[in-house]
Amino acid sequence: MAENILTIEHLTKRFGDQTVLQDVSFTVQEGEVIVIVGPSGCGKSTLLRCINALEEIQGGEIRLRGELVRKDAKKLQEIRQRIGMVFQSYELFPHLTVLDNILLAPVRVQKRPKEEVREEALALLARVGLTEKADSFPRQLSGGQKQRVAIVRALCMHPEIMLFDEVTAALDPEMVREVLDVLLGLADQGKTMLIVTHEMQFARAVADRIIFLDDGGIKEEDPPEQFFEAPKTERAKEFLKSFTYTRKNKGRSPGGKNENIT
């Protein structure tokens, strides 16, 4: 039986008097890939931000291998190094080159030897096809390239779990693929990942488990096949329906106005 890396129990998050997450509980096991889906504003991103202690929580607890993750935790910095996070809008440091972006935290925070990290960073960049961009500045990269750099930056910290917060939401369609391919590769290597996404086909392909979040709570937790083929709740069915398009009267209506157009 694989070990539980992340345990979330009865998590409650409020902004003022607005409750965003209510009694959310789940666990993530080593090597597991969990995809969180749900309508906008259901609290998916907030959930990830809580796991990295970027948000204070009002109830429940989050534990990484038994250690409490809280904004006021004494070992917060140490715990955060073990949780990699990739953001929707990349958040690369604009004044640093690609390589320096990646080196900053491993060298400054983890105090690892610069040469060793450099080699690893270059190897990782090669794996995502960005070797020749090592000395570029973020402004010289496309969105997809920036996001791949951001993923490498998080990977280089050797996190025990990676959080991906809608990492393709800001990308042009043809760039979505290059980023998702990187994620699929990581899943194949057995990385533990928690992914928030709106790419349903990708979710189905990559996930070991799907968590459907709606209205601040977990409404379904299924293997992907079951979730996409036969969701249990009405709300999930409705949600999935919003990704398919059908037209009531397809083609030219017989005897319609279009007849004369050649």
């Binding site: 990295n52 955060r80 996070m85 953001f87 958040e91 004044h95």
Partner: protein, 226 residues
Amino acid sequence: MFSEMFMKLWENGLIQMGIWETIYMTVLSTAISYCIGLPLGVVLQITDREGICPLPVFNRILGLIVNFFRSIPFIILMVAMLPVAKWIVGVSLGNRAMIVMLVIASSPYIARMVESSLKEVDAGVIEAAQSMGTDNYQIVRKVLLPEAKPSLINGAVISMVTILGYSAMAATIGGTGLGQIAISYGHQRFNPDVTWCCVFLTVIIVHIIQEVGSRIAQKTDKRYRA
């Protein structure tokens, strides 16, 4: 073409001396003011409610002190701070006292300039750094300050020009520089050419500061295509 007074001042090297004294006062005061104003600005920014180390009460008190010094007109501050100058540099007259005045007046001003430069740094980038486990000191040193560098340099140019302007009031407490030459030899002895010469020289100095500063700021800015 030039008045007798101008020729005399020029031949005795007083105008040249004035240029040097003005530059000396301005540069030294700016440097010392930044030693105080930069950390003060950083503290104001990070202890803000939205900052990385929120301390609302402390921030409010510090803000009030800074605002207090910023709201006193320079000429009044100068008179009020004479005992302080005496205490720090041993005299309450002359250029050394003037530098103390300039530092007292511009440090809070610079603190606010620094604070507003740091506020421009994208909050998302700071969160990214936090998510990697950086502590507050590392965020300030490695993210906040480098990220705000072009804006900080632009702020320094503005501050320096302001300090240069203040330094012209040195004559009030027996200091020297171009301001003093313009007042005592130009204005008080009816030699408009001396006054205008000082104006012209000041314009050139300001222009050089501005030009050099803008270039450095542009060079350090990696955010946009050059």
